[in-house]
């Protein structure tokens, strides 16, 4: 389907801080900034990839979007309406339009509930269909996610299915309400590579069929390149680079994105593989435990960034700025567009997922 210019989701200055409560023995309460001032848009019908390492805040962004958690600051809009203050009937309508596919299919299905009941439950909750045609709707959706013949699966329980089959059930459950927006939180990180590819194809098929927009959260740039139209690279809660996925993979401009590409396993006839080499083997010391701890602003990637210059990067937080229309990075010293060295991703050299 066509990706239109219209925005379905808008994050505007979203910040999420987790506070650990002050206890009897430690007076000071610790704060963890999971997301810092996140601003990005997801277009209608697009698959937007959010890439980052563990603890970077990418999952938090997804959880905020499905209202499993509330932002500390900022506004999240779905189709132009602020979702942070929804209640009652409006909230239920929102729940119908936004669904989530969870990371671990072994945990996201209730072990006591049969496949039929699990997939049917959203229909029951939202009063869609009646006991007669719900069964047909469930069977149709199971067939779409590749569980066929669907009748065979209705009576089974999650423990009788493989991981890939469970994740298909989870996708069917999310898609049965025909949502406009789906958050897929690392849906393949628990599965083998071959199964992952099948799951990606199901997601692509769902986008074609139901015109759904997907926020795809992943730690794998290769998976993101296969699936996503645009990418956001996130590090320690800050969006570092944002742009079309082809451009970001082929010509990354942020040192962190370059480091991520270096980290990808490559195979095939790669010749002499180009390395950006932007990641320091050992972290720089002295920022976080120096004077004025916690008050000083600095680039979050500075401690691990080779091209960084201390006088600037350690003393201010760079802003997200456009390099070209649709491609923005958060760096004082954006790398020059690389000369076309033979990089992975060309015709005979492949990235592993």
């Amino acid at each position: 389907m066509e990706v239109t210019g219209e925005h379905i989701v808008e994050f505007e200055g979203v910040t999420k801080i987790y506070k650990s409560k002050a206890s009897l023995f430690s007076r000071s309460s610790e704060e963890v900034v999971a997301l810092r001032d996140l601003t990005l848009n997801i277009r209608k019908g697009e698959i937007f990839g959010l890439v980052g390492e563990s603890g970077s805040g990418k999952t938090t962004a997804g959880r905020l979007l499905v209202k499993l958690e509330e932002p500390t600051e900022g506004v999240i809009k779905l189709d132009g309406t602020d979702i942070t203050k929804l209640k009652g009937g409006r909230l239920k309508e929102f729940r119908r339009n936004v669904q989530m596919i969870f990371q671990d299919p072994y945990q996201s299905l209730n072990p006591q509930v049969s496949i039929f009941e699990a997939v049917c439950e959203p229909l029951v909750i939202h009063g869609i269909g009646n006991s007669g045609n719900r069964k047909e709707m469930v069977e149709e959706m199971l067939a779409l996610v590749g569980l066929s013949p669907p009748e065979d699966f209705l009576a089974r329980y999650p423990h009788q299915l493989s991981g890939g089959q469970r994740q298909r059930v989870a996708i069917a459950r999310a898609m049965i309400l025909k949502p406009t927006m789906v958050v897929a939180d690392e849906p393949t990180s628990m599965l083998d590579a071959s199964i992952s590819a099948q799951i990606f194809n199901i997601l692509l098929d769902m986008r074609e069929r139901f015109q759904v927009s997907i926020l795809f959260i992943t730690h794998s740039l290769a998976a993101a390149r296969y699936l996503c139209d645009r990418l956001g690279v996130i590090y320690k809660g800050s969006l570092m680079e944002l742009g079309p996925s082809g451009v970001i993979i082929a010509e990354p401009r942020h040192p962190y994105t370059q480091a991520l590409i270096d980290a990808l396993p490559k195979f095939g006839q790669c010749g002499s593989v180009f390395h950006y080499g932007t990641l320091l083997a050992e972290e720089r010391r002295g920022i976080e435990d120096g004077e004025g701890k916690g008050t000083k602003e600095f680039c979050p990637f500075f401690p691990r960034c080779r091209p960084a210059r201390a006088e600037k990067c350690a003393n201010a937080m760079p802003r997200l700025e456009n390099l070209s229309p649709g491609h923005a990075i958060r760096c004082f010293f954006p790398a020059r567009p690389s000369l076309q060295v033979e990089t992975a991703g060309s015709s005979k050299c492949y990235y592993g997922i």
């Binding site: 499905v66 499993l68 239920k92 729940r95 119908r96 936004v98 669904q99 989530m100 969870f102 990371q103 671990d104 945990q107 996201s108 299905l109 209730n110 072990p111 006591q112 509930v113 049969s114 039929f116 009941e117 049917c120 439950e121 959203p122 909750i125 939202h126 006991s131 069964k135 209705l154 009576a155 329980y157 989870a170 459950r173 309400l177």
Partner: protein, 303 residues
């Protein structure tokens, strides 16, 4: 409808799987056999009064006997001080024990499970309030409270005693169910239900309850034991329901009429029965514990 058929298949499967493990446990087999014997006794308690009205455990007096006699063909376990048949009293006692034990346990499990799930799921102020209430009730000695109540209001009806036992025995269950709920609450399938738009009511009863019920049933067997013991103690101390023949009541009659050391045929049967029935429910509980918690299973089972 399709749904109901599928559900039965799943629970049946889980049940059979549990039964396989249960069968392996010696404790479980002994416990279950004993419980079945007591259940047979309870059912058989309806027979003697039908044979002859003199075998009625409460009102039936042998017209030819007016004092305690030992076992005979006419009275297999002998008679009590006014000529009532001890065997028929013993059988009636089994019925009362089951009635008291199962109904008090069921009520306290029902209360404990609901309160535990609500406290665990809602958290915050609701949790604090319910759990402090549970703490307060937990530290009150049940027997003492019932003694005080019955000295205030005179003899208590057997169902009042059951109700009081239930009201005082839920906190232990609710603590366990609460902690189980706390760990379930953060599991992704609960979050998945929230994302699908499920109400709190639906999440508690459709998603949390089926996952804590096995634990509730386990605790039910232990609660049966304590309910039977409390009832027996009350009856022995003379605070039981005077209209019911329970084993504790029989012991009280032995003691009150001074037959403690003169009539072992009268003293021993109810004493042994009380010990065995509590022991059998305890053994059943331990075996069920093994079914529910794989860590308790023997090494041999794993290989």
């Amino acid at each position: 409808m399709a749904g109901s058929v599928q559900k039965r298949a799943g629970f049946k499967g889980a049940f059979l799987e549990g039964w396989e493990i249960f069968k392996e446990s010696l404790l479980g087999r002994i416990g279950l056999t004993l419980i079945l014997i007591f259940a047979l006794m309870a059912v058989a308690s309806f027979i003697p009064p039908m044979i002859d009205p003199m075998y009625h455990p409460m009102h039936g007096v042998d017209p030819e006997i007016s004092f305690s006699t030992g076992p005979s063909l006419r009275h297999w376990l002998g008679t009590d001080f006014m000529g009532r048949d001890i065997l028929s009293q013993l059988l009636a006692g089994a019925r009362v024990a089951f009635m008291v034990g199962v109904s008090a346990a069921f009520m306290s499990i029902f209360l404990g499970t609901s309160i535990g799930m609500i406290a665990g799921y809602m958290g915050k102020a609701v949790d604090t309030m319910l759990m402090r209430l549970a703490d307060m009730i937990m530290v009150m000695p049940t027997l003492l409270v019932v003694l005080i109540l019955s000295s205030l209001f005179g003899q208590l009806n057997i169902w009042t005693i059951v109700l009081i036992i239930a009201l005082f025995r839920w906190p232990g269950v609710s603590r366990v169910i609460r902690s189980q709920t706390l760990s379930l609450k953060t599991r992704p399938f609960i979050e998945a239900a929230r994302v699908a738009g499920a109400s709190h009511f639906r999440i508690i009863f459709r998603h949390i309850m089926p996952n804590v019920l096995p634990l509730s049933f386990l605790y039910m067997t232990f609660r049966v034991t304590s309910a039977i013991i409390i009832e027996a103690a009350l009856a022995f101390l003379g605070f039981g329901d005077p209209g019911t023949v329970s084993w504790g009541m029989m012991l009280q009659w032995v003691w009150k009429t001074g037959h403690m050391f003169k009539a072992p045929y009268w003293l021993l049967p109810p004493g042994i029965c009380i010990s065995l029935i509590t022991l059998s429910f305890y053994m059943l509980g331990r075996a069920m514990d093994e079914v529910l918690d794989p860590r308790l299973r023997k090494e041999a089972d794993a290989s």
